[in-house]
Symmetry: C2
């Protein structure tokens, strides 16, 4: 318990990652309303839209319109997703987003081959191209990430050694380009992680990379996200990706109906009850979660929205 | 991590506790089918029905018929709920149930007063009457429990001292009646517990009561049940109440739409991935969860049923 951080940074991924998987078209105005509502909760970072091919992700064919419609709030970093030169150009052209670079590799070669028709060698090549692109555009590269870090529906368990080897590849790519990584991101892309595994993995990585901070991206596919987040907190992790209401899913996973990311408000509740600062206005966040559920038109998995805020109960009791 | 138990005992509460809160009448045959399905999963204990007043809990006005219809499976303990002499008589009269006594008190006097119109003194009196009744019927009394152990919607936070004082009252009642309690049950009746609180509470109680084992009953009202269960496991707790599919809710809580108990299959997944034996056939349990969802006619919250079994994925990959 002694390693619990005093404060956590929460990167809200709900809009970009959550909405893209919705089957029903979400109107542009609703996407803007959700991001604007989230920007008023105290969240420091919101991943807004995806600049990928509209053929692959039709839900984001209005990415530019959404970004243009946002009421930008000072102090909030508005980020986006881009996977190639065209996407990066589109993001930069908006003139309204925080443009950040990163280096990410998949720990599962079966995932790469099945979903992207790519070998690990080819993946490293595409990353070299992106790194060159970031440098040519003066985009800072600070985060190195491993996807499918804890397991993969196409490859099975990912042993810790395999994760560590992938992480070495990430750092080798950074070194080649004279880039110093500040943060290591681990993504449980398909919801394989369990708390003991998070504890062991984070423990090993923080010993091996004492100069980098760690960031966790935890999917709730099998209901373990909140327990995995707690395991991360207990190992001192202070940087988490989350998704309001638990929006999302995993388009690459081998099953339907899977839950999305770690739910933002459930995670904020966990932190606040443990005395960990989040900087978030809990009631405003609950309102944003209610809005998210209305916008997508079906129940979202987050629990504390339904269970009720203890803040409100305590306040009603004069506590 | 070193205190993880080698094996856990799971008490399935889904039928009794879960079905009673359903608004739509569940047919007797469906109740029987669910309990019979659960009895084939390897579960050692199933709480089947409630022998309370049909006026208060109309859903269980067929308790006797359900018990009479069960295909009793050797090795499974079939328990039930009874809160007074009439209920106990009804349970005994079936001749088919495991009859067990217990002593439980609420840590929250506001909960008692608001929901049962009862003072703590009156509650102790009713417990003395039940203890006398158990003894008169040669019913073993082995478990002492505290409800609302971690917090209460009507009283707010329950400080550890208040929980400990209530537990002392439980042990005093046992001592008066010359009863030796083997197990201490802590119930998070309204879903207030968080992992750090579970760790601190279990740590204190197991030091103070080294001769008793601990049992946790965790509601998922605010999405913390699985993280709280993990905290309990790490403190060596090996006895948990759960509910298939996450069936249930809390009829006494101040809000609607709250989730039910810790979900049986999500908890089994957590344990098995950590190498903790459950004795449960995971795929049979998933089938029982699918059946539970069909019977109640609305989505149940459990995650791993939707996310997919890693057993199945690994088997498909030849692992």
């Amino acid at each position: 318990m002694s390693d619990l951080p005093k404060r956590v940074t929460i990167n809200e991924d709900g809009p970009r990652e959550g909405i893209q998987i919705e089957k029903t078209r979400v109107p542009t105005a609703d996407k803007i309303a959700l991001i604007d509502a989230l920007s008023q909760t105290g969240l420091a970072e919101i991943q807004t839209v995806s600049f990928v091919s509209p053929k692959k992700v039709p839900q984001w064919n209005d990415a530019e319109d959404v970004v243009a419609g946002l009421t930008l709030r000072p102090g909030v970093r508005y980020t986006s997703l881009y996977l190639n030169a065209r996407g990066l150009d589109r993001a930069i052209a908006t003139g309204r987003l925080s443009i950040e670079g990163g280096i990410s590799l998949s720990a599962s070669s079966a995932f790469l081959s099945r979903n992207m028709d790519m070998t690990p060698e080819r993946q490293r090549e595409t990353r070299r191209e992106m790194i060159a692109l970031f440098k040519a555009n003066n985009v800072p590269i600070t985060k190195g990430s491993v996807n499918a870090a804890f397991g993969c529906n196409f490859q099975g368990d990912i042993p810790l050694d395999q994760l560590l080897a992938t992480l070495e590849d990430v750092f080798a790519l950074a070194a080649e380009a004279d880039v110093t990584l500040e943060t290591i991101g681990l993504s449980d892309t398909m919801g394989w992680a369990t708390p003991g595994q998070v504890t062991r993995t984070v423990g090993t990585i923080r010993e091996r990379y004492p100069n980098q901070s760690l960031s966790l991206h935890l999917h709730d596919t099998r209901g373990m996200a909140i327990a995995n987040a707690q395991a991360g907190l207990e190992m001192g992790v202070s940087d988490f990706d989350t998704s309001v209401g638990g929006l999302g899913g995993c388009p690459f996973a081998a099953h339907k109906g899977a839950a999305g990311n770690l739910c933002t408000e459930d995670f904020v509740f966990l932190c606040e009850e443990a005395g960990i600062e989040t900087g978030i206005d809990f009631n405003a966040l609950i309102e944003a979660s209610v809005l998210a559920e209305r916008i997508v038109g079906h129940p979202l998995p987050g629990s504390v929205r339904k269970g009720g805020s203890l803040h409100t109960i305590r306040a009603g009791l004069g506590q």
